[in-house]
Homo-oligomer: 210 residues x 2
Amino acid sequence: MSERQPNLRERRRSETRRLVQAHAVRLFSEHGYDAVTVADVAGAAGVSSMTVYRHFPTKEDLVLIDQPAQLIAEHVAASSATQPLVRRIGSALIDAATASTGGNGDEQAANERFLLDCLRLMVSTPALRARHLDSQYALQQAIVEALGKDATDPDAAFRAQAATSACLAAMHTALTRWVEDDGRTGLPDLIARALAASFGDDAVATHRKD
Amino acid sequence: MSERQPNLRERRRSETRRLVQAHAVRLFSEHGYDAVTVADVAGAAGVSSMTVYRHFPTKEDLVLIDQPAQLIAEHVAASSATQPLVRRIGSALIDAATASTGGNGDEQAANERFLLDCLRLMVSTPALRARHLDSQYALQQAIVEALGKDATDPDAAFRAQAATSACLAAMHTALTRWVEDDGRTGLPDLIARALAASFGDDAVATHRKD
DNA sequence: TAACATGATGGTAGTGTCTAACACATGAGT
DNA sequence: ACTCATGTGTTAGACACTACCATCATGTTA
C-alpha cells in the first residue's frame, strides 16, 4: 500500500488484463487448453481478440507465470561465495519460495489458488509445459550471471551452468509435486527435499537464517 | 547389415523423409527457423506440403531428434541398485553418449554433423528449445520407470524424479556446450564434467568399463 | 497376366494463431 | 476547449495444421 499513483487509464488497462487472464485460466481449466480459442477467451472477457493479443503476446502467455528471477538472482548474489554452488543456489530457491508463498492474507490465498491453477495447466498441457521449461532456461542465465562466474574462465562458467540447471530441475520437480498435492505441502519444504534427493542431505540440511 | 528386408515402397518413403529433413535443416540453418515456411521446405525437397506433414507431425519435428530413451532406460535398469541414484543415472547417460557418438566411419561422421546442425538449431531457436526440453521430460519418465521406484512409496518416487531431472539438466548443459564447441570436445567427457560439477566429483569419478 | 488391395502423394477447403495497417474513442496535459 | 497519447476495434492477411477426397504406383492374389 505504498507506491500507488495509478492513472485511471493504467488502472483500466491492468484491470482488463487481469480480467482476460482470469477468464482464460478458468476456460482452459474447464474445457482444456486446446479446446478453447483466443476468440472464446476474448468473448468471455467482453473484449476483442486484438485486445487479448495486445496484453499477451501469445495464447500461451495467458497462463505462463513469470518466476521471480530478480528476487532469486539477488539471493544468489548475496550468498557467500565460499559455499558449494548447489548450496548457494538451493538456499536462494528455498528463500524465494518462502517469500513468495509465505503471506497468509485473503488476497494472498487467492493469489496462491490462481498460481496453482496456472501451474496445473502448465504441467498437464504439453505446449505450456515446454514454454515453462524454456522460461526456466532464462532464469538459469540470470542465476549464472548472479554467481559471477562468467568472466573468469570458461570452465568455471560451464560448471556454474551445470549446477544451476540441475538445481532448477530439482525445483521444477518440487513444483510439479506441489501442484499434484494441490498446494497442501509447503513448497519450500518440497524444494529442500528435492535438492536433498539430488545432491545429498548435507548439501541442504543445515539451512538456517544467518 | 542384418535386419534388411525393406520394400521398395518403404525405401522410397524413408528416402523422401530423409530428403525432406535434410532440406529443412539446411534451409533453417541458412535463413533461420522462423523465416522458412513449411511450403519452402516442401518446394526445396520437391514434394507438396501435405507430404511434409505426413512424415513430420509439426514443423518443429523436422529438427527435433529423438533421444535414445530406450537405450538409456536399459542402462539404468541394468545398473546396480546399491549405487546412489545420480550415479546410476549418470553412468547410463555417459554410456549412452559413448555408444551414440562412438563410431568413426564415414557415415557416422555425417550423422554427427547432421546431429550437430539439429542441436544448434534447437539451442538457438526458442520454440525448438522448448520442445526439446519437454522431450527430455518424457525421457525423465522413462528413466524413473527404469529405476523401479514407482510402485513402492510416493516419497521414493519423488526422490527418483528429482534426481533424474537434475541429471538430465546437467546432461542438457553438456549438450549445449558440445554444440558451442562444434563437437570438438568428446560428449561423454562433457557429460561427466557436468555431472561432477553438479553432484561432486565422487559421484562420477570412478567410472570405468566393467 | 489381370484384377484387386494397400499405401504414398497431391489438391482443396477450412480452422486457429498471430501480425500489420487503419480508424475510432477516451483520458491526459496544456 | 485543443491537442496528444493510448487503449481498443475492424479488417485483411500469412502461416501452421487438419479433413477429405482423388490419383497413382506398388504389392498381392487369382
